[in-house]
Symmetry: C2
Subunit: 121 residues, 2 copies
Amino acid sequence: MTIKEVSRRYQIPEDTLRYYERAGMIPPVGRTPGGIRNYSQEDLNWVELCLCMRSAGLPVVSIARYVQLCRMEEDTTQERYALLLEQRRTLLEQQRQIGETLDRLDKKIARYEENMKKETK
Amino acid sequence: MTIKEVSRRYQIPEDTLRYYERAGMIPPVGRTPGGIRNYSQEDLNWVELCLCMRSAGLPVVSIARYVQLCRMEEDTTQERYALLLEQRRTLLEQQRQIGETLDRLDKKIARYEENMKKETK
DNA sequence: ATAATAGTTTGAGTTCACTTCAAGTCAAGA
DNA sequence: TCTTGACTTGAAGTGAACTCAAACTATTAT
């Protein structure tokens, strides 16, 4: 699968796909004899994981560190496990923070709706 | 209340407070005759709102637009209401996205724990 | 064979949200 | 009066995550 097709499938610019690879968030993608990227199913899985993590706001370096650990010869199970737990903690905290802001927003919105009801009375 | 006290209270640099005001995320703060910022309770409320929104990741301009609408002479109730709804939609979507990523992360974590249990057997 | 189209790399540029710096003002204390 | 220190504004610098440009190579249609 060419970079263009991947770009269209996931609605992400080609430049960003190349950038992700350069940044180490995706292991080096397979190439044709001519040196053109040819994404395998496994490459696509990496891309998808990467997009999922990024859309949740996890930093590029933290995703890259995981990928790097996966590509090492030695057994990095412990490190990877610890990294995943840390990423989960980060996301839970972010989710909590957003929840707090939503509460606040909802209260404001409710007040507006109250006032708008009164106006039309 | 001086900028220093506000800074300490909310654990945010003085420079950032001034920046928020300059960016229009906080309406102009009251001043002493000497021209020094003197935060009233209402100013503090704005600061707090602003910190809450930012920590949830809402962009500076979108917060500034709301504040700007609040400061206008005309009745901007409709616009403000619409803006709040839009911000809520944004945050809900972000929360959903984080939830999705957490699911994925949890599955990965579970697999690691499975394997680690087997290892020690 | 050759032109057009699409893909490659490397390095530089852009945007956002701060963050720090530079240069200046002012008020109180030694 | 001089100095210290907190304050001001405007501008420049930083780090993260793209995004674009230039020069080059590969593939495809004619």
